[in-house]
Amino acid sequence: MLRSTTRILRAVIAAIRPRGSGFDQPIDDHVLVETQRFLRYFPWTLRVGLPLGLYLIEVGPPLFARRWRRFTRMPPPEAAAYLAGFQHAGGLRSALLMGLRALVFLAFYQHPDVLASLGVDWAARADVLVRRRAELMYERGA
């Protein structure tokens, strides 16, 4: 990903990542890396389309929100309000936000610190159950 699109993506993450309610973990860098890791598995249409969409977000404020500065220069609350407006815009803008939300939320909420704050430990449970099932199957003679 180019440096310019990475800069926009970083600002998008800052705007839409969960905040408050115990979700203030400083993990934006992790979310950025995880989001970019997804890109290489996308079909070519999305690999091309997502960076274009990020540029649309960057230059969009005058068009979509009557704000006269670029997205990356907006203060965080204004940037969040601007992006929230994409949700009900329909068409490509809604789809773009839906996709970005999915990437950011997946990386954010599955971070071990966030899972711990939710009281969810799927991985530890998996270790226990794999072992337990191995014992059960051994007892069955499988």
């Binding site: 996709g99 969810v120 998996a126 159950l129 794999v130 099932r133 051994y138």
Partner: protein, 520 residues
Amino acid sequence: MNAAPDALVPPEHRVAYPNVTVGETLDGNRDFAADAIVVGTGAGGATAAARLRDAGLDVLMLEEGGLHRTETFVTDPATMIHRLYRDAGTTMIFGRPPIIFAEGKCVGGSTVINGGMSWRAPERVLEHWARDLGIPDAGVRAMEPYFAEAERILHVEPNDEDTYGRNTHLFLAGAERLGWPVARAPRDMRRCMGLNNCALGCPTGAKQAMHVTEVPRALAAGAALVTHARIDRVLFRGRRAVGVRGRFVTDDGRRLGRFRAHAPLVVLAAGARCTPGILKRSRLRARMIGRGLHTHPNAKVVGLFDAPIDPWIGTHQAFHVHHFLEQGVLIGYAAVPPGLLAVALPGVGAENARWMRQYNHMLTAAALIEDRGEGRVVLGPDRQPYMLFDLSREDLETVHRGVALTAELLFAAGARRVLLPFADLPELAGPDELRRIAERPRVADTIELMTVHIMGTTRMATDGSRGAVDPSGAVFDTDGLVVADASVLPSSIGVNPQETIVAMALRNADRWIDRRAARR
């Protein structure tokens, strides 16, 4: 009984995979030859491959994805989505509304990532195929031995009660209060532990997906498997299929060398999106190829409870409500990891955080809709298959009915709020508000749907004007080219299709074997 050894692992962690060639490690161009080529290793492909091998054919399986062994499975969604899902789970069905579609791209196909439900196609559906569509030996009695065999292959059993979590008990309580009978779900598993990781691959090995059942069985019997092999098209001599050609690809889709595989029998089992895509790229012009797409969409409905549920503990979908199947609605429930559930909840930033703080109080249920409308698969300018599907007016009504019933069940179970899949009606504050679903304008665009059950895109029929393949799965106007996946199902079946795909592949494979014997 002696204590188990420390190094004890489940039997599925010790599965042997002989005769496997990893395509992404091959340089240059390659040629292969066999008696039968099977494209795809999901429910249909793996079943057909094993059946053909049992009949003595030299079988070559070609799979676009990689072989991921059970012992490498983890619970992190991002890691497993990269490994197991096509396009990292971003495939869309275009239309009103757009529908998210997820399918497996790995050895075992979507059986590795499904919930393991193993329902037979309902009797009324089978009778429709036999009586109304005239498909011989597709009725209840004729299909019985194939379903029985499918259940043996899949190792179908219900969940043990010790795997039930609070989500299961709430689901049962809601249904009971409403007087709705529940059906205990049969699943392809050996001693499920209730880990709830089915959609990301089962680390315990309990789910009997094709990568631990028919694929290794076929390999042990002498079949061969080439992974990372993406099919471009079928090769013909006149009207006879003589093989396929394609390219090796990496896990993330980068193209490597080319290959050709030659065989007098080509079995396509690449799924209801890619199979018609391959046929269309093979310059087959039959009008019905790609038509008849059914999506069996599901609409998510989330109940919010005062007491914690811990929805990630205990099995999912141990029960379904089939009471409304005649109306085209099946109701189930699932455990969705936080990172995926958050996407279905409203808002960004602080708003989404407020909802997600209550994650352990949420029960995620869904209405699965038996769609009557039909879409199609077309080739895009990049020669890749794209799916087009609009909800019909009747289907739109069924979605509303299904969402209302599911919300009613959640309120009956004690939910204080229910979140809906409508952007313009995101939540209900109590059962008194259920009428708002009925009053909602029937607008499709603002409904959030997803599916893992597409079917019908090269459907079986008695003639080429009504379907793409004949009642044995053979593609019309060709020789030696057959289809063995959900594409061949002649109509939407209204339940999870895995077992029906397996049963139909068994039924059709017997016909191909008989035909081959008769020719000799």
